[in-house]
């Protein structure tokens, strides 16, 4: 909140569409170009290293072969089904974890009773490897989607509930007092003040939880088998199909990148008002 007191250069506010200084654009362009170049160089090293025998092609098949497999699996429908299943499990679990985490986090900040109940549970649960619960979840919820989704929700819950609790407790009182002086009632304050104020921290919690959810999805799929990227990779590994394993790795990389970037975009959209978006 201390940002508010600082006067920002007015040029930012007056002409949002005004041309920026030329060096900022080129610096960003150089950044992106370097990043792309590094990835391309690594891809090239992979391809040629494997192709010209520097590396055993069974241990590391050339990138082109992996891409070919990815393409044929895409045509045959294996990849879309796997991607769809993995994405469905990851996002459903993530959303359940988010709904519970945000709700309980807010309640903890508002009510001492809820805080007393959940605080010890979260202190113990947060640092614990959540995957330890998998065997019991399999017993309780069998080996199909339910147990995987619950496992994902369970692992996403902790970072989200802690971030929401931190974000909604100890809020700056001034906007709350303003809202009350305009006649806002206690139940309006949640949607009109508490949530928007805590939004940066809640989103940070979500951004921490999302990759955790992706990891948990892949691991549960690997451990339980069946379809989904993780399951297909484990099957490929069992049949010594290293090309199949690498195809799975590429799928995960692309999926993870898209999902994480998507959440970043949502953050920018929701926090246009925040100084972080005006840099």
């Amino acid at each position: 909140m201390s940002d508010m007191a600082q006067a920002r250069p007015l040029a930012d506010a007056v002409k949002p569409g005004a041309p920026r200084q030329p060096w900022t654009i080129s610096a960003k362009l150089v950044d992106t170009a370097v990043q792309v170049a590094v990835i391309l160089a690594l891809a090239a090293a992979w391809e040629f290293g494997a192709r010209y025998g520097a590396i055993n092609p069974f241990l590391l098949p050339p990138l082109s072969v992996v891409l070919e497999r990815l393409w044929s699996d895409l045509i045959s429908g294996v990849v879309p089904v796997d991607l769809g299943l993995t994405l469905y499990r990851a996002l459903t679990g993530f959303l359940i974890g988010a709904a519970l985490g945000i709700t309980i986090g807010i309640l903890m900040a508002r009510s001492a009773l809820v805080r007393w109940f959940f605080d010890p549970l979260i202190s113990i649960g947060f640092p614990m490897p959540k995957i330890a619960f998998l065997p019991i979840f399999i017993l309780w919820f069998d080996i199909y989607d339910t147990s995987k989704i619950i496992m994902v929700a369970f692992s996403c819950f902790y970072p989200i509930v802690s971030a929401t609790y931190a974000g909604t407790s100890g809020l700056d009182k001034w906007p709350i007092w303003s809202a009350r002086s305009f006649g806002a009632r206690e139940r309006d304050l949640l949607w009109e003040v508490y949530l928007p104020m805590a939004m940066p921290q809640i989103l940070t919690g979500l951004q921490v939880a999302l990759p955790v959810g992706m990891i948990t999805t892949i691991v549960t799929e690997m451990l339980m088998g069946g379809r989904g990227i993780g399951g297909t990779m484990i099957t490929a590994g069992r049949f010594a199909d290293s090309v199949g394993v690498f195809a799975g790795i590429l799928e995960i990389i692309i999926l993870g990148f898209v999902v994480v970037k998507g959440l970043e975009m949502i953050r920018r959209r929701l926090l246009v008002w925040h100084p972080e978006s005006q840099r």
């Binding site: 909140m1 940002d3 508010m4 007191a5 600082q6 006067a7 920002r8 007015l10 930012d12 506010a13 007056v14 001034w174 906007p175 007092w177 303003s178 809202a179 009350r180 002086s181 305009f182 006649g183 806002a184 009109e192 003040v193 928007p196 104020m197 939004m199 246009v272 008002w273 925040h274 100084p275 005006q278």
Partner: protein, 275 residues
């Protein structure tokens, strides 16, 4: 109860405030030391009066303002307006805080619209009033800017527009220009005085700046530090229309000197007390 009834009776005029025997202390919970912040405050602020609470830091002037605003509960005594004893915040007593307290996630216009919506204006009227008050504080063109994109002075003007737009009978101001640079502060003081002359509201304005108090107020309450008491209530005997030129008027200078001496006594006493 009898006191409440009496205070209510006193506060008859549309937007007057009556403060009767109000004391307030902080701490004391969990065996901590109790600090008396306000000691038996009695004060009547008349309808359409511009009243300044002036005193050294820690004299409880902000506490008194928050009590009038209903943000902290009255512990002892009664504060009443025409609507009866104050028991919580309400749109009849709007406040401008030192740190603006705008909603940072809303644009200037949405900040102003928020109060209007709460006050129950219909959609067309809301738009019109919001624009009128944004124009009034010279923020035309910045309707869609977020607070973080504005300078401190502009944020404070947005906060004032938001508060004035709902047309409160009583306007509470807690060192609203404290965070501004000297030039902006001077301009804002002139604008506030001009706006007040036009809109005729009851204003309670907290400040520790003698010149600000003398320039703005009809009456000044000089408070002592810890425990906060009202030591003097002084009528500002200056013309109602005050522009920049009054700052050089010998009457203004003499009067400021007099107030300064009274405030200084309190400040010195406070420093001695602290040692």
């Amino acid at each position: 109860m009898m006191m409440a009834a009496k205070a209510h009776h006193i506060a008859q005029a549309a937007s007057s405030i009556s403060i009767h025997d109000v004391s307030h202390s902080y701490g004391g919970r969990g065996g901590g030391q109790v600090m008396l912040a306000l000691d038996r405050i009695n004060l009547d602020v008349g309808d359409c009066e511009f009243h300044c609470l002036l005193g050294p830091s820690g004299c409880g002037k902000s506490t008194l303002l928050y009590l009038i605003g209903g943000f902290i509960p009255v512990q002892a005594g009664v504060i009443a307006t025409a609507k009866g004893p104050v028991s919580g915040p309400g749109p009849d007593r709007s406040i401008v805080f030192q740190n603006f307290a705008l909603f940072p996630w809303k644009t200037v216009k949405d900040n102003v619209l928020y109060g209007l919506k709460k006050a129950g204006f219909d959609a067309g009227e809301r738009e019109k009033r919001a624009q009128d008050y944004i124009d009034l504080v010279h923020l035309t063109g910045f309707e869609n800017a977020y607070p973080s994109q504005l300078s401190g002075g502009m944020q404070q003007r947005a906060a004032i527009a938001r508060t004035l737009a709902v047309d409160p009978g009583i306007l509470l101001m807690d060192e609203p220009f404290g965070a501004l640079d000297a030039q902006t502060r001077r301009v804002m003081q002139e604008e506030l005085r001009a706006i007040w002359r036009r809109s005729r509201k009851t204003v309670v304005f907290v400040t520790h700046d003698v010149h600000e108090a003398v320039f703005l107020a009809d009456r000044i309450s000089i408070m002592s530090a810890r425990p906060g008491r009202i030591e003097h209530v002084i009528d500002v005997d200056l013309p109602k229309d005050r522009g920049e030129e009054i700052l050089e008027d010998p009457r203004f200078i003499q009067f400021s000197e007099r107030i300064w001496r009274l405030v200084r006594e309190q400040a010195v006493a406070a420093t001695r007390g602290a040692h």
